[in-house]
Amino acid sequence: MKEEQMEVHVRIPAPLKKLAGEQDVIKSQGKTVGEVLRWLTDTYPGLEERLRDETGQVRRFINIYVNDEDIRFIQNLQTPLKEGDRISIIPAIAGGSSFGEVKPDHGT
């Protein structure tokens, strides 16, 4: 019996877009959040270092939401997904600056 391929939408934040083919939203596959992230980083290997630390955990300055719920308050990477769920990757953002100019000072 062929397993059903389930599609969810992953929203890519601006700072990671260039590592994901400049896409805002990526149709991804997986039955849990962990599976979807694995699918994403397999498809776009440049995302691996940004999303996960050396031990494979989601980095602590990145939050993942399923629809509007933070996965830390549901079942984390084991959170089950259903067709059409929206996953958002939300990193901490610092700047008031425009095009990613890195300047070690406050006030931009």
């Binding site: 934040p13 601006a14 602590r60 901490a92 953002i93 610092a94």
Partner: protein
């Protein structure tokens, strides 16, 4: 002739009172005082002009000058079934205003007989004359029309002390709006100088300011908008050494910094001084904004993002 004129005016007043008493309903100052004391759901509407309000008003009043009543009252008071007590100086204009409101469909409108003069004569308290000047009443009149701001809210703005960390892309627009609204004290901490590349978004600074400290440029711009605002400048970096002492002097901290070490320092110093922390971050066309106020039971920045990214991993 003078006496004759007075007689005519008195006759006119008598006529107006009789007419409006039939068509409207009057309420005594004693009854109004009781309503205020009971904190019942009603609106006390002061329809006098700003020069009169400057001399004194009844605490809890909402303000709408008589000449704006026809045009604005339905915006100010969308619920036409809420009881309204209108007052003026002596109770004449308020009769006319109550009639206008009845015609607009307000179901429970009363005119306070004898007005604020009668209120004072009965020994009831009025808020004194020292709070807002006629100029300020005019400048902030659109705030006074907002039920959730009003006179008390405007007084709170004028007494508020807000610290802006950074006078850049986020700090500039925040400062513009706070200054225009009449926030009394704005602290600005920034060690940077204005650069030509800043001008497309850092809207407090102009071409002539290039090379000047951002704090100085910001102070001038704020005073051009509103000389009421006291601007305190800190031409230095925010550090773990100075943060607590500076934050202590303010009611609200607004973070317009562009780097993670400063954001986490602002978070921690806000936490330890018990101040609400207004957080914002922008990357190109995306942004985040939040209020962190753990003293009132909410989370802090470290609850949202437990640690900052290491340098270089995420562009700021």
């Amino acid at each position: 002739m003078k006496i004759g004129t007075l007689k005519t005016i008195k006759a006119f007043k008598d006529w107006l009172i009789i007419k409006a008493t039939r068509e409207g309903s009057e309420i005594s100052v004693e009854e109004t005082h009781q309503l205020l004391h009971d904190k019942g759901p009603f609106v006390l509407l002061d329809i006098r002009e700003k020069e009169e309000i400057a001399v004194g008003y009844i605490k809890g009043a909402t303000f709408l000058s008589q000449h704006l009543l026809n045009e604005k009252v339905e915006n100010l008071l969308p619920d036409k079934d809420v009881p309204v007590v209108v007052y003026c100086a002596g109770g004449i204009r308020s009769l006319a205003a109550a009639r206008v409101m009845k015609e607009k469909g307000y179901t429970h409108v009363f005119s306070m007989a004898k007005g604020i003069e009668g209120w004072k004569a009965a020994g009831y308290e009025v808020v004194g004359d020292s709070e807002l000047t006629p100029h300020q009443l005019s400048r902030y009149s659109r705030h006074l029309l907002l039920k959730d701001v009003g006179m008390e809210g405007q007084m709170q703005f004028l007494k508020a002390k807000v610290l802006l960390v950074g006078a850049g892309g986020l700090g500039c627009p925040a400062a513009l709006y706070l200054a225009a609204a009449g926030v009394g004290t704005l602290g600005i901490i920034d060690s940077d100088k204005v650069d030509l590349t800043n001008l497309q978004r850092q809207v407090l600074h102009g071409l002539a300011d290039v090379g000047r400290p951002k704090t100085e440029s910001a102070k001038d711009a704020i005073h051009r908008i509103n000389p009421d605002v006291k601007v305190v400048t800190y031409q230095e970096r925010l550090t773990p050494q100075n943060a607590l002492e500076i934050f202590d002097k303010y009611d609200i901290i607004i973070d317009g910094s562009d780097n993670f070490p400063t954001k986490y320092l602002v978070n921690d110093a806000s936490f330890f001084t018990g101040k609400p922390y207004i957080y914002g971050g922008v990357f190109q066309f995306e942004g985040q904004a939040s209020v962190f106020f753990p003293k009132e039971g909410g989370p802090c920045l470290r609850c949202l993002f437990p640690e900052p990214p290491p340098p270089g991993l995420v562009p700021s």
